[in-house]
């Protein structure tokens, strides 16, 4: 029997690169340099292992996977059993595993016996029990009885190595998966092997807890119950759980996850395995932040405002109430959809706005934005399908980041970039005021930039210091320029990035922060954009869509964007708001005033919010776990997911909107996510004219020469309401600080650790100073962390002029 292993998708393995090996008398052809343990998997032979992990460098420490090599491919056998996790196969090699070799079998049983002598017999109370590689492999490959009659090594019960992660040292088999993951993959070597010999143990330095955005992966790949999370410890048994594959909703990567629930309640989430997207890793936010919909403020039934007070209402009553007002407002209503919707929900809002409300006043951007950004998205992103991919990131010669902090804003992107840096030496550059920790872990080079001047810097990289010159030199056809949503605050920013890409031959990719952003863009949740990349102003595109939708007319003028909608709220007759957090908007105070001024506000929400406080009618919709749908990730890849928790009468936005449209004597033509998706797919991407690329000029530098500009972005773990209900996760957030350069600190007379007051006319923020190597006359603040809510407190944003002073002066 000969088996040809399927090469991984996307790889181009020539036949000549295949070698033939014989494992347990079965011939198999595998690519050169394949590890024996992987080759055995190809023929269905599972060699027991602990330290081995396909995404970590081989270490051959646990010795569990010993096999006998009877012929090394040169006619000679190897005298000692070999670890199959570190043995690369050679043509003609003959390997015998535990299945056909008494030597390998005894060697494996011997290692298993050694591993068990110091392992506690606490499987009945161990979280890993029932899904434990040690337990399972001890059953399949171990001795029936231990010959150990001595004293086991014990340690005091678990130690908290972070607020979220606990370590039971006596369960640890010292495979070093966790420490190698932290060092190799995440770049956070806050856990290490300490001590020596039989006392070797995983540990932290006491003052530096294991605060990594990726710490949960270490728990997941632990082959025993040594690492557990505070969130899940002692909560459940694996055999009581039902597992559903899903997609994470906290960023734009569309990471594969597995959701485990029991009796209608999600108990935990794990990283799914998707080689093309997130490999086997997810951020702690994707893993642990899933309780936000169950924190006591969940909306359970529609509400209607009557005499200034909200009261419960039935769905029919609320629908009728809303339909009346909205029908009256047709042509003078606006829709804010936010960035958290699925593609299906976004498509429903997009169609609802055009068909039921007769307006193009719709925008998904619940954050600083610009007309230039909308033009850029229409020209370069919407309807372009799968473009630059994760795999491309890993293979890029160089990557230039502009207005984008990968570790904070898109952790899966960060990990893939880091893989490229580590494996092939990808050079990373960032146009930023300083090297964040994430950038440092990418060995990134900073192209020094004062916030707001990114366009000018991109326009003339060569003269922007050593970093700029190096970036310019490195950019070419094997490069990728990544632009983040923060660039919308910079006039000319996207235009300059497009020009740079054109000039250098680099790929350009837009990576937004939210899971629903790309889908909303594809669905046409922009004032100038219809579904599939169709331009509102393109008559042919409108005709195409009218035909598909079966409507006679679609509004043909560009609508209002988020800022314009808020500014015009008082003159609108109705405002429909999906999942939007007021504090995410550019000016929360103005947004609140707009909600107050708007004559009629319809809110579709999961939980009570500042929007629902001002709403006239509220429709309770369900979070992703309770509906099916699709996120489109930043690559343009569709990431469908099924319902996890089947709730009777669950109302996804699609269904609520369909009912509302019907009540308005209109029709969406679908009432389920599946229906919406079917119609969206049938509609297809526009293959007619595309918008021209924007050519905005770089804006003038704001403020006086020595005025202080604000740099700010959001941290992965911050005061987002998405983290509600998971205090252990929030406790691992990075401590908020205000960053300024030594020169700037000297100017205002503060030292490292002093309090700094950052203020605008709207208010002030006080944080300890962290003196940082960075651009002078710039202060960096976390955008939405404890004691630092930039938009709410300062009404300021990236590039704003602010005042700084010592806190004691």
């Amino acid at each position: 029997m000969t088996i040809q292993a399927n090469p991984p998708a996307g790889s181009e393995v020539e036949r000549t690169d295949l070698v033939t090996v014989t494992i347990d008398d079965v011939e198999v052809k595998v690519p050169k340099n394949t590890l024996a343990i992987r080759a055995a998997e190809q023929i269905g032979v599972q060699i027991p292992r602990f330290c081995d992990h396909p995404l970590l460098d081989p270490v051959a420490a646990c010795r569990q996977c010993l096999v006998e090599v009877v012929d090394a491919g040169n006619g000679r056998g190897m005298p000692k059993p070999q670890t199959s996790c570190s043995l690369t196969v050679a043509d003609g090699m003959v390997i015998r595993t535990q299945i056909s070799s008494p030597v390998a079998d005894k060697a494996q049983q011997g290692q298993m016996e050694f591993l068990l002598i110091n392992h506690p017999l606490d499987c009945p109370v161990c979280d890993k029990g029932g899904e434990c590689p040690l337990q399972n492999q001890a059953m399949t490959n171990g001795r029936g009885e231990s010959r150990f009659e001595g004293v086991k090594r014990t340690y005091p019960k678990p130690i908290n190595i972070s607020a979220q992660v606990l370590l039971d040292r006596e369960r640890c088999v010292l495979c070093a998966r966790c420490t190698r993951f932290s060092q190799q993959i995440a770049g956070d070597p806050f856990i290490e092997l300490l001590e020596r010999g039989a006392l070797q143990q995983v540990g932290i330095y006491e003052k530096e807890p294991y605060e990594s955005y990726f710490s949960g992966n270490a728990i997941q790949i632990c082959p025993v119950g040594a690492l557990t999370s505070a969130a899940y410890r002692f909560r459940s048994r694996p055999f009581d759980l039902v597992s559903v594959p899903s997609v994470a909703e906290h960023d734009a990567s569309g990471s594969a996850i597995r959701v485990d629930y029991r009796r209608g309640k999600v108990m935990r989430r794990l990283a799914g395995d998707d080689a093309e997207v997130n490999e086997e890793w997810i951020s702690d936010r994707d893993r642990f932040a899933f309780n936000y919909a169950n924190t006591g403020d969940r909306l359970t039934h529609p509400l209607i405002r009557e005499d200034g007070e909200l009261r419960a209402a039935s769905w029919p009553e609320a629908l009728t109430f809303a339909a009346q007002k909205l029908t009256a407002a047709k042509g003078n209503a606006a829709v804010l959809t936010g960035g958290r919707l699925t593609l299906e929900d976004a498509y429903a809002y997009s169609k609802f706005a055009r068909v039921a409300l007769g307006t193009n006043d719709i925008d998904f951007r619940a954050r600083p934005h610009s007309p230039e950004e909308a033009d850029f998205l229409a020209a370069a992103v919407a309807g372009t399908g799968l473009g630059t991919t994760f795999a491309d990131l890993e293979k890029a010669g160089s990557v230039l980041l502009v207005g984008f902090e990968p570790e904070e804003e898109s952790p899966a992107v960060f990990l893939r970039l880091r893989k490229g840096v580590r494996k092939i030496g990808t050079k990373v550059f960032t146009v930023a005021p300083y090297a964040s920790r994430g950038v440092e872990k990418l060995s990134g080079v900073v192209v020094q930039c004062s916030p707001g001047t990114e366009a000018a810097v991109l326009g003339d990289l060569r003269t922007t210091g050593e970093g700029g010159a190096a970036a310019q030199a490195a950019l070419g056809s094997d490069s990728i320029i990544i632009v983040g949503e923060r660039l919308a605050t910079v006039q000319g920013g996207y235009s300059a990035a497009l020009r740079l890409a054109l000039d250098t031959g680099a790929q350009l990719v837009w990576i937004p922060r939210r899971a629903g952003d790309r889908g909303a863009l594809e669905a046409g949740c922009l004032p100038g954009l219809l579904p599939g990349g169709r331009l509102v102003t393109d008559a042919a595109a409108r005709v195409d869509l009218q035909a598909a939708w079966g409507v006679e007319h679609l509004p043909g003028t560009i609508g209002k964007d988020t800022d314009e909608i808020i500014a015009a709220a008082g003159s609108l007759q109705a405002l429909v708001v999906a999942g939007v957090e007021i504090d995410d908007l550019p000016n929360p105070a103005a947004a609140l005033a707009a909600l107050a001024a708007a004559p009629f506000v319809v809110s579709f929400e999961v939980r009570n919010s500042q929007v629902t406080e001002h709403a006239d009618v509220i429709f309770p919709v369900v979070p992703p776990a309770e509906k099916d749908g699709t996120f489109v990730n930043w690559e343009g890849r569709e990431r469908p997911f099924p319902v996890v928790l089947k709730m009777p009468a669950a109302m996804p936005d699609v269904r609520a909107l369909a009912a509302l449209a019907q009540e308005m004597d209109s029709s969406l033509g679908f009432s389920t996510p599946a229906g919406a998706k079917k119609e969206f797919d049938e509609l297809g991407r526009w293959d007619g004219d595309r918008a021209g690329e924007p050519t905005y000029q770089a804006g003038p530098a704001l403020g006086a020469f020595d005025s202080t500009r604000l740099a700010t972005w959001r941290m992965l773990i911050d005061d987002s309401r998405g983290n509600d209900g998971e205090p252990h996760l929030v406790a691992t957030a990075r401590r908020p600080v205000a960053r300024i350069s030594q020169t700037t600190a000297h100017r205002v007379g503060v030292h490292d650790g002093d309090e700094l007051v950052v203020s605008t006319d709207a208010g002030s923020i006080r944080l300890p100073v962290a003196i940082t190597v960075m651009t002078d006359n710039v202060v960096w603040l976390p955008a939405n962390s404890a004691d630092s809510h930039v938009r709410r407190s300062l009404h300021a944003d990236h590039g704003s002029i602010v005042t700084i002073a010592g806190g004691n002066s």
Binding site: T154, K207, E208
Partner: protein, 238 residues
């Protein structure tokens, strides 16, 4: 039960600008700075009398490592101590050969004599007693070390005399080394800052020279090579 003795801070660390500067100097001696970590930890001990949190943090800061990365190294090597070491680190080899030749009895005698256990320090802070693994002086068994200087062919009597002299502050010389300095001073040499005592002591002891003396007595030499050797009989030691 096994547990880590984590370094604790007493708040009176002596790591300052000078030590940080010396750490940087050590790091600069190597093609890659991290290679200086072992010497830097020796330097920490020479300043602090043990590995302290402040010492770990200084190493981490100078080399751009996490505290865990430095701790991983500091806890791996037996010469790094997490509890204060006395002025004199007294080691007794109890590896097999020395143990059988009398090391075990010497160690027992010293524990009794000093009223301390293994890896403990006398009340006066003078002596830390520890049993050692093989120190590469088996031809002088039983062997003791004081601040990593050799004391050869020991007996329970010579061992107790040795520690008595150390406690009394009498000058003590290694038979194959220098006048005994303090443990901290020794650690500074190990860190890579010589103390100018290399010329003290003999070339070797009796056992080192046993074969050579016999060869000289019996006029045994290696065959003459291309170049005749030029050892000078008039310049022999003793």
């Amino acid at each position: 039960m096994a547990d880590t003795t984590v370094p604790y801070s007493t708040g009176d660390s002596k790591i300052g600008e000078t030590t940080i500067g010396e750490m940087r100097e050590l790091a600069a001696r190597y093609p890659e700075g991290r290679s200086a970590l072992l010497p830097m930890l020796h330097l920490v001990q020479s300043v602090e009398g043990r590995i302290t949190p402040e010492g770990i943090e200084a190493c981490a800061a100078v080399l751009g490592l996490t505290g865990a990365e430095v701790s991983a190294v500091a806890t791996f090597y037996t010469m790094y101590k997490r509890r204060p070491v006395g002025d004199y680190h007294v080691g007794v080899c109890t590896n097999t050969l020395c143990a059988i030749m009398g090391g075990d009895l010497i160690f027992e005698r010293l524990k009794e004599h000093l009223d301390v256990g293994n890896d403990e320090t006398t009340e006066d802070g003078k002596i830390t007693l520890e049993h050692l693994e093989c120190n590469a002086a088996c031809d002088y068994a039983p062997v003791m070390m004081v601040n990593w200087e050799f004391f050869d062919d020991m007996t329970p009597e010579s061992a107790t005399q040795l520690v008595d002299d150390l406690q009394a502050g009498n000058e003590v010389k290694s038979p194959r080394g220098a006048t005994i300095c303090t443990w901290k001073e020794a650690e500074r040499v190990l860190a890579g800052f010589p103390d100018g005592r290399a010329d003290e002591g003999p070339t070797g002891g009796k056992a080192t020279l046993a074969g050579l003396r016999l060869a000289r007595e019996r006029n045994w030499t290696a065959p003459a090579g291309a170049q005749a050797r030029t050892t000078d009989d008039s310049r022999k030691e003793d």
